[in-house]
Symmetry: C2
Subunit: 184 residues, 2 copies
Amino acid sequence: KKKSTINHGSRGMSLENEINQSNQYYLSRGIAVVHKKPTPIQIVNVDYPKRSAAIIKEAYFKKASTTDYNGIYLGRYIDFDAKETKQLNSFPLNNFHQHQIKHMQQCYDLGGICFTIIKFTKTDEVYVLNFPDLFKYWKRKEENGKKSISKSEIEHNGYKIKYNLNPLIPYLEAVKTIIDHTNI
Amino acid sequence: KKKSTINHGSRGMSLENEINQSNQYYLSRGIAVVHKKPTPIQIVNVDYPKRSAAIIKEAYFKKASTTDYNGIYLGRYIDFDAKETKQLNSFPLNNFHQHQIKHMQQCYDLGGICFTIIKFTKTDEVYVLNFPDLFKYWKRKEENGKKSISKSEIEHNGYKIKYNLNPLIPYLEAVKTIIDHTNI
Ligand SMILES: [Mg+2]
Ligand SMILES: [Mg+2]
């Protein structure tokens, strides 16, 4: 099978890797500073051998209490999570934990620019969805409505991001539009 | 020995714990959202036992590529590190890695409010030092000057933080002063 070209997306690369690579580009150009937070780990047991590095012998993954990414762009605090789905026609809201939504709400209330980047992995389509829109659908679910956001709702409310060469995912263009429409 | 009262500091509690506790207060009041980033870990080997949580069997501590804390306050991106020293009269600059300084410089250049919180653990004295001041002393070291910042330089350029009840370390008061003096 021929390796797909970058213009057709980057099949196989995880959304996180794509974002990290894009952030590296933005950082190198002095456009934005955005880093992925390390995975939170509960460390239980550590070995300290003589003359070599400490070895963690027992540890567990903890649930993240915030989002995966934050940083600064256009002088603004930005905060977001990256989510992939294998679904074709909808994005299941159980991809989010309550505390992630709460964290974004807290940042948003203080003037932060919060959003999610959603990738439909079957079709390599990537969208930026602003937090107020995400929250609208989250509330609908909480009020016993649909447990997902339909693809057409995402198309209508979100910003489609076209794969590019550098940065691979130029998501900050959508974020700039969001900032331009934000009155704080 | 009588337990020291909170007004005399909180002998024995790590600066990080004190800051985390203060951030919890700020968060609960909707004043700021600031979280400590998880410790970065290089995971080498993970067990996935049936019917129970994944166990990390081998992992190593990685050097942090950024600072410990970031978040949003007064609509501004803030970014800082917490450093303790047992020294009485100076703060050794080898407490910082080059990449932490570089990260703060990158955020500062984009309009972020960057600083360090320094605790003299022998005397329970805590200071906020704005990044431009820290950088001045960092550059002095790079140019073969002193390898530390003297206590009196910190007293002169920094903001002394008095222990309080809630928040324990009201460091955002100093940050507000820094923001008020920043022209972006
Ligand atoms: Mg994620
Ligand atoms: Mg630190």
